[in-house]
Symmetry: C2
DNA sequence: CCTGCAGAGTTTGAAAAGCCAACCCACTCT
DNA sequence: AGAGTGGGTTGGCTTTTCAAACTCTGCAGG
């Protein structure tokens, strides 16, 4: 068996898993729309940024629309699918704040008044995801977990 | 200003943002502990996998413990910090299931009985994260959002 | 003892991707 | 006219990635 495990995590990473891609999304969520601003805020080489933007547009995560006709200039905005990646970013942010940073460089205030910290729950019941609350059901043959889902 | 925006997302990505790193984590959550199994399930070149495992161990996300003394063999397990990355994986999984896959190759059954779908909420109040429910407060000078937080 | 096999890497050399600086084009502003 | 801005593209160099082969340690069978 030489093909990798079929998996939506891997599929998603093939869209947003390249270097800088998620940082582009971060900038877009901050309302940054233009090439030069992104390049500066992210610290990415301009040619690489060009490639990432194109990839994200092709993947349907961003869309480019002209904001100036002559000279022709585009700005980049998230699509509905792109907007739905907000949770990924917030989850990464929370992990870094917790395990890496002494003092988070950026805090969000949630509408409830508290400093926002992301938490992942079951969309149906709202319950926690603990290690033993989830049972995997593999749809493809030959890809069971080794042992139980754990960690 | 030539330094990139200070940000826990970027910091987190410097730990788990390299190619294959999150797939290593995925395997670890499935209970896969050994080098050869990971290489096969992920489809990663062996030298790259070696580098990623070492990086993740140094970063305190995985720990290696011997499971055989002669020949000396190690297995890789998540640390507490590594376990806390589960939410990142589940959020990526959900996005891929929703926007990429026709039929998800893997489904988890949550303890509530439903097929699990991840959702990100405010840890304090349990409320949704909509675009306008969060107000950024920048701790470092000069890094405001351009326009409001949006998307 | 000799042969074969498994597990976990390490080495090798070519192909791909990343990086940086410089350049270009189409305007606008002074 | 000259300088500045925005959004790239180009060329040349460095770093990663990749696949295959190789290493090393021990076990198992004949």
């Amino acid at each position: 068996m030489t093909t990798p495990r079929p998996c939506s995590i891997a599929d998603t990473l093939s869209v947003v898993g390249e270097k800088y891609s998620l940082l582009v999304l971060r900038e877009v969520f901050f309302g940054v729309r233009r090439f030069n601003d992104m390049a500066r805020n992210i610290g990415a080489p301009r040619d690489v940024l060009t490639a990432r933007l194109n990839h994200l547009v092709e993947a349907g995560v961003l869309e480019k629309t002209p904001y100036s006709a002559r000279p022709l200039r585009y700005e980049y905005r998230p699509t509905e699918a792109g907007r739905e990646l907000r949770g990924v970013l917030l989850t990464l942010l929370r992990w870094g704040d917790r395990y890496l940073a002494d003092r988070p460089p950026l805090v969000f205030e949630h509408s409830c008044g508290a400093d926002f910290e992301a938490k992942v729950v079951c969309r149906t019941c709202g319950g926690d995801v603990s290690s033993d609350s989830m049972t995997p059901r593999f749809q493809a043959e030959g890809w069971e977990a080794a042992g139980q889902v754990s960690g």
